[in-house]
Symmetry: D2
Subunit: 430 residues, 4 copies
């Protein structure tokens, strides 16, 4: 197994419990009916997420490594496999919304059944001594954290389809510092030309797609210290950006016309004001907050219109190495805000803000293997490599990403047309 092991094996049991509880906390405000919705094919029903993350531990830890473990139900392997061809047949992705049974209560029993077995196993020396077990455990935990992010974004999409526009939760008051008035004076940060080591090295956990660390030569460039705000994006809308083909990639332009895009996903114009649907219900758009729920096509059209460009994923990583050290605090899943927020920007220096958290930053890099990339043998090898075409790399995590899950070398990936994730824009020039 190629995944490096996290440096803190002692905390495995604690981390397991915390992460598993976090998942259930996210689902607590949902009705049983909410948990079976699949209003578009990219969205998975929350009940499915609850079951699938559990299936991972049952399948890759309990069944192969804990003698005497009794699977909770003989058909759950079929119900909750996602895309692992190695693990046999499964419910088609587009049919996940047909699973009214097992009822939600049974899924929580399933979680309890697996959690009890896992806690017992993690308390024993024997399991932890097995070869690879810590790597698989780490992968299972990281995997569940990925699904926590998807839960937040899928729940948002599900509720947004409902004509009642229900709020997921009441608004969590979050005070961001005042935005500096001098921001404009000092908005670009320079990254000098040179060789950079891109990819993960060292002891901590990473996914296989972050390997191998390898040298990349970069020319000098400048990056915006802050994310593009709703106010800035609104100027693009008002300037007719959605109806001028010159800013768009051809496939984006076709889609924009076909789908009649006029603004980011979830935005609604009422009278003269723009509102957007949030997990707290319909709210006025906060002009100082970073724009989000835009496709790669929109991000690039915005960059073209503004006379700048997007970063490559290599530039992004170099930027994080140089100008975001120490990494700034961010707005993550744990804040419970579930919405990007404005940040205070230091008036002097070149420090870059909002690199981690808030929104995933679209890069103009395809999601492809690094030199020397090797997939792991068996089902675990289906985790990342087989998706390496037709997607763009995104960096930095979002307001729905667990803080302990993200790092500067982390590579996320989505198709250029996707908008239901918390995605945003950082600009570069020259």
């Amino acid at each position: 197994m190629s995944f490096p092991i996290s440096p803190e094996p002692a905390s495995l049991l604690t981390r397991y419990q915390q992460i598993r509880q976090q998942t259930e906390k996210i689902c607590a405000p949902l009705t049983p009916e909410d948990t079976v919705m699949q209003p578009m094919v990219d969205v998975s029903p929350p009940k499915w997420h609850l079951g699938h993350t559990t299936w991972f531990f049952e399948t890759f830890i309990l069944i192969p490594h804990v003698s005497g473990y009794q699977p909770f139900h003989p058909q759950y392997a079929f119900l909750f496999n996602s895309y692992y061809n190695s693990m046999g047949s499964r419910v088609a992705r587009s049919d996940r919304g047909t699973l009214s049974r097992p009822p939600l209560a049974d899924i929580y029993l399933y979680r309890k059944h697996v959690d009890e077995a896992m806690e017992k196993a993690l308390a024993s020396e024997q399991l932890l001594a097995e070869e690879n077990i810590q790597a698989v455990m780490e992968l299972g935990l990281q995997h569940e954290q990925q699904h926590q992010e998807l839960l937040v974004t899928d729940i948002k999409y599900i509720l947004s389809c409902n004509p009642l526009l229900p709020a997921y939760q009441a608004k969590n008051t979050f005070i961001s510092g005042p935005v500096s008035e001098k921001q404009a004076q000092n908005e670009w940060s320079t990254v000098p030309a040179g060789m950079y080591t891109i990819g993960h090295s060292g002891d901590g956990f990473c996914f296989d797609n972050e390997l191998q660390a390898h040298p990349v030569y970069l020319a000098e460039f400048q990056a915006r210290r802050t994310l593009v705000t709703n106010e800035e994006y609104l100027a693009f809308i008002q300037a007719g950006g959605y109806s001028d083909f010159r800013y768009w990639l051809e496939e984006g332009w076709q889609l924009c016309q076909q789908e009649q895009w006029q603004a980011p996903l979830y935005w609604v114009k009422q009278d003269q004001d723009w509102w957007h649907f949030t997990l707290h219900g319909l709210e006025k758009v906060d002009l100082q907050a970073p724009v989000t729920h835009i496709s790669f096509y929109e991000a690039l059209a915005y960059a073209n219109w503004s006379g700048h460009r997007l970063l490559t994923e290599f530039e992004w990583e170099a930027l994080a190495q140089l100008h975001a050290n120490p990494l700034p605090q961010g707005n993550f899943l744990e804040s419970g805000v579930y919405q990007p927020i404005a940040s205070e920007v230091p008036q002097d220096g070149q420090q870059v803000v909002q690199l981690l958290g808030n929104v995933w930053e679209w890069t103009y890099s395809g999601y492809f293997p690094y030199p020397g990339f090797v997939t792991a043998p068996g089902a675990i090898g289906e985790y990342n490599g087989k998706f390496m075409v037709n997607q763009l790399a995104l960096r930095g995590g979002s307001c729905a990403t667990p803080q302990s899950h993200i790092r500067p070398t982390y590579r996320n990936f989505f198709h250029a047309d996707k908008r239901w994730q918390f995605t945003g824009i950082r600009l570069a020039k020259k």
Copy 2:
């Protein structure tokens, strides 16, 4: 309003209560998640049926006729309108499966709110004295009975999509009389040539599509006294009926190949035996029971293969007038069996059995207006007339039809490819 009034206005309150309770009884075994499923566009989520039937009374009785009535929720009119263009915009039919909210509990509160107002109104002389009110009430009750049938068939379809193949309820033991061994000696019943009055006349309720009663000349023909059984249909399957184009209409043959039909909907072959999914779970096919869940294309292909034909809807109604008098008891919704069953057949005489209940009988008649057909003004006029093209007439009701809802002049209609209703075959010749 063109709908004749039922002769028993005194019982309106009682009937209202019984019918409303029956609807909730049908939904009692469902989980909340079951009630939001829409696995294909023809199926509506049970929660939607529960709300829509309630919306009917709120919209057409309480709001226009009961002063001071407070609608339960301002947006429910949008959520629960089905297809009445006159009543404004509504959730697209294909999007009914996105309604996780309002939660099921709220829908039951909605029903309670409307039921209390209705019961109060129906107890007053004043409401019943209003012009047309009894006709609208009657329509509302008949409408809810139609949705009871759809609830049963939609629930069956929903559960059938689930890999766990859950049973809706335990099997309701139902003893049918032994099937006569001499059945074959006497299987055809003759209807003589002559003028027949087709359509509804007299005092009882009918839908507008059963009017006007009008004379139709029919040549002599013979009709099978019983429905085609699973055993007979199995002979068609085994003779290669699903792979011989000669028996099929061209559009049916295209569909049969495209969908790879091999047997009725819900049938599964395991080893050498045929099983089918029922509301009691997966069961062996009962050879003596009437075949069901077949499209019009399959019904006609079977008739062609057997050397016979289907009846027209006029022939069916003449048959019911002459040879099914008094109308035989049938297998209706109230039996709780929810599956067609074999019937005892009198050995002498020409009495026809299974005319009402068990399965809707496909006729080879298009669903078109009778001479002099007039749609009612306003929203009620959208009930039937606007569907009069590209559908076939079906007669006789099924095991999911309430007994008090059906009559010999009743005209049901579905597209030729539909299979999720309890549909079956009666043969004719000459």
Copy 3:
């Protein structure tokens, strides 16, 4: 074989030659590229029509009945079979537009090869003495006449798709008599109640779908003596008929919105005037001429809007029996006008005009089998019966129908959404 034989067997050779030449005359103005176009699936490329009608004689006459006949090319049977499952595999209907080869010149050689063999065979006593041969010949000739009509309508559709809007031919001046100013005084013709014999009887040729002749009882009704004109239809357009759901069948209303129908096919509004594409190029709409290129949905919406209704096909046939005797002259294929035209209407009496020719009249009758209908065995049996569902009956022929091909019992059939044929409207009331 169930098709009655035409009374004039002596003229078979002459009729064969005339009909075959007529087909080639229709195609004479086309470029080779025109003959391979298939801009929608309902349209067949003219080259395919030329080959397919020839294939019919080769397959059903020459190969089985003329010893020593050498087929022109071994693969043409595959290329030019239309829909006869009995005759083996064939090019999919939607792929007919891929046939650039064989080149047009080869198809004319094919026609010549078959014509020479046919002429030789028809000149011999031996062939004509064979059982059934005259019936098959008659069917082959009628079949080619049907394709002549399709050639005209398909050519019109093909040219209409071209941005250059090319004319098929220069305008053929056609002088219709002046339309009577008193037309309105006397516009309805009455058909009394009674039993009518519907269907074909007697010696002449008919298709199997016109049999058996059978009694039908009809109530009294009145029919318009003339077809609905463009001027009348324009009033419907101007009154908002295309945007008021109340006049439409539900499926028609959905389609009307989806396709954004605003007027008949081929109509274009330029400035304030309506023009339409004809085989003579773009012309101003002639207000006195019958409206054409409308779907059944539009025909019925117009009838509903005008407060009248459409005839059934039985009423139409009764009307033709009673009030169109002798049948009025019409505007047929032979006129070369290829466009419906205004007719002079006698001011007194009840004579009905435009019954035959000009436009096919949509009836509100499904295309279903007559009582006692039997399909012929073998491939010929696939001619009509297998299409008897989901289509409407049309009566009377059009300006693209050969005069010798039409008769009052003739049943044409199209789906309710089709507009590329010359279809029109006759109204009924009571």
Copy 4:
């Protein structure tokens, strides 16, 4: 305008004439009907290619730069614009197959009209002295050469859809040298680690997507000296490569199953042998020739199965710089073979063969902008940049590429699923 100018402006008139004649030579064997076919959306009708390449010179040279020039036809600008949004509305790409008119003869008149005007203009000093004119001319010539390649591949696809499998031309005998028996001993060529300058520099013409030349660091790797042959690919087929998901990207695997791919496009198995459709008709697969007509998904699956990988486009260009100097002769459009062929391989040394010509080599690099990429202003700027997403870079040209059109820095691009181009595989390792 950012396109560098070709060093030989003196030859512009001669080159113009040669290139224009080459296009017509390619189309000479076609029937008029062949020239209007569009059997799939990626294919354009040959008549359209003939018109569109002419439109380019009329639009970008004659109309803006030659005073008094009369356009051939006012509507041709609409008919023959491809995708230049700046140049106004145009026939939708998927509707190019509806253009039976103007007839082929008119298109040749159009070419003659433009050629005469162009030849006159190119003979004058005045035109050549205008700013930018040589760059636009160069682009027009390169553009027509690109369409020559598309003509060959589109004609092949068009003819392959015809059930008669017609040959485009008789086989052009082409003797390749014998393939070395010792090939296996020496099949890999090494490229050392280091900084490479990628992209075009110097005087010759290049497209904007080859700019700016920039440094890229590459680790050491080895590349196969020859392309993967049909024999090698057949081993992959026989080993079950098309039915083992482990070798495939997920999107490729879905497509492979859905389209039921079993072999490259145009391959047919008859009895035990593999044949493929070529421009000379159906032929046995030549085992020594390079495999072609495969998608990127198949190329990568083959590489994974064989235990190797594909090159990146940067590696490919470095390989061409180091080990293919001087560039080997290749099999280009001018050979008239229109099919990849086997090559003689020097037994000693590391020389790489088949780098240019034969087949486009799929790289595992997305088609993205180079650092500093800038699109030209105006319509010319729509040439390349707007396609830079969701496509893979291909290198080296094919047997349908004109020899003077290709160079080592040339970047072609197609979606991962495309198979109708002459695409093939070169392997790399470590």
